[in-house]
């Protein structure tokens, strides 16, 4: 899976990175797309706990490399935590998504409000 993700990133770098510095991708993707694929296609191999573990590892690596976590990853993690009944972690992850990406505010606020977890900020 790592190899298959490397190619698109390389291609993107080639296409977008011709203008000098900072040739790395905008985001560190780690396991996010692999988790998405597994959760749809091999749900047996991707129970929520395993997904949480992989996404948490991706966030750790991103932090270590001082690279940004991609859009959607924290929200996905938040959904998993909530499904597992870890309300505190779930709310924190959803709020992290909104803090990183204000574009998600309408959706995230709505999720929190409807789940009666927290009203508007």
């Amino acid at each position: 899976m790592f190899k298959t993700l490397l190619l698109p990133l390389l291609a993107i770098t080639l296409v977008t990175g011709c203008s000098g510095h900072g040739q790395r991708s905008l985001y560190y993707w780690g396991n996010y797309e692999a988790v998405l694929l597994d959760s749809y296609i091999n749900p047996g191999e991707a129970p929520d706990e395993v997904q949480i573990e992989k996404l948490t590892a991706t966030i750790e690596t991103a932090k270590k490399r001082e690279h940004q976590v991609p859009p959607g990853l924290y929200a996905h993690l938040g959904m998993l935590y909530l499904r597992q009944g870890h309300t505190g972690s779930g709310v924190a992850a959803l709020k992290e998504e909104k803090a990183l990406y204000p574009e998600s505010a309408v959706f995230i606020d709505g999720l929190l409000a409807r789940a009666n977890l927290e009203a508007q900020p």
Binding site: T4, L5, L7, P8, L9, A11, I12, V15, T16, C18, S19, G20, H21, G22, S25, L26, Y27, W29, Y32, E33, L36, L37, S39, Y40, I41, P70, P71, G72, L73, A75, H76, G78, M79, E97, Y101, E103, S104, A105, V106, F107, G110, L111
Partner: protein, 223 residues
């Protein structure tokens, strides 16, 4: 200019771009996209006209990366899917018919990407197999529904027939069928197709705000 200088990087890159994209036709009209200037994109789970029931979800697992690296906020595909299912829309067919006002109210995306999958999966002939992905895309304004950009994502890969005569070809075709049950080639094909569609220098999607900000910062740093 001698032949050798053609292979210097300065010439090679445009040449490569030309090879990838073929002869450019009319430049695309980006005025609607530029006027709308979306920051965020909601990808609706694709309408599926292929026989592979997994196709919409394989597609969804390969669209966030290239779209976000293009500089847009991409709504979390699995969270959106769960949200729509929990609200009485069990399949992509129904999800594609939600009125814009509802999407605007609950999700608030600047732009919405509607995808129709025409062809997806592997076809086996006696001696070889061909894997193919093909989908049509429409990016529309989240408020007005105006068309901002469109694309056709397509990729295919043949396997088998790798020498060894008829017997060898037969064995490899059978082997490909066995392997493919475990190792589906469509996710990788889908990544390739999505990249080409979004990053095509003549018809691709324009850079979104996050990429534009980075390119701008790079420019300033190099001055």
């Amino acid at each position: 200019m001698n032949v050798r200088s053609l292979f210097r990087p300065g010439y090679l890159l445009p040449l490569l771009a030309l090879l990838i994209t073929g002869c450019a036709s009319q430049p695309r009209d980006y005025s609607a996209l530029q006027t709308s200037n979306p920051r965020s994109i909601l990808v609706i789970p694709p309408q599926n006209n292929s026989v592979d029931v997994n196709a919409p979800y394989i597609f969804l697992s390969t669209i966030s990366l290239p779209l976000a690296e293009k500089g847009y906020y991409v709504f979390p595909v699995a969270v959106i899917d769960q949200f729509l299912k929990q609200n009485g829309l069990p399949t992509p067919a129904e999800m594609n018919n939600v009125p814009l006002e509802k999407l605007q109210q609950y999700i608030g995306a600047d732009a919405i990407l509607y995808v129709t999958i025409d062809d997806w999966g592997q076809q086996y002939q006696v001696l070889s197999s061909v894997a193919r992905v093909s989908s049509k895309w429409r990016l529309v304004d989240g408020k007005t529904g105006a068309l901002l950009w469109s694309g056709h994502a397509y990729a295919q890969k043949s396997s088998g027939n790798s020498g060894g005569g008829l017997a060898g070809a037969l064995i490899s075709a059978v082997a490909a069928q066995i392997v493919s049950a475990i190792d589906d080639p469509t996710p990788e094909l889908s990544r390739t197709a999505n990249l080409h569609t979004l990053y095509n220098p003549y018809e691709g999607l324009l850079p979104g705000p996050y990429l534009r900000a980075k390119l701008e910062a790079n420019k300033q740093a190099s001055q």
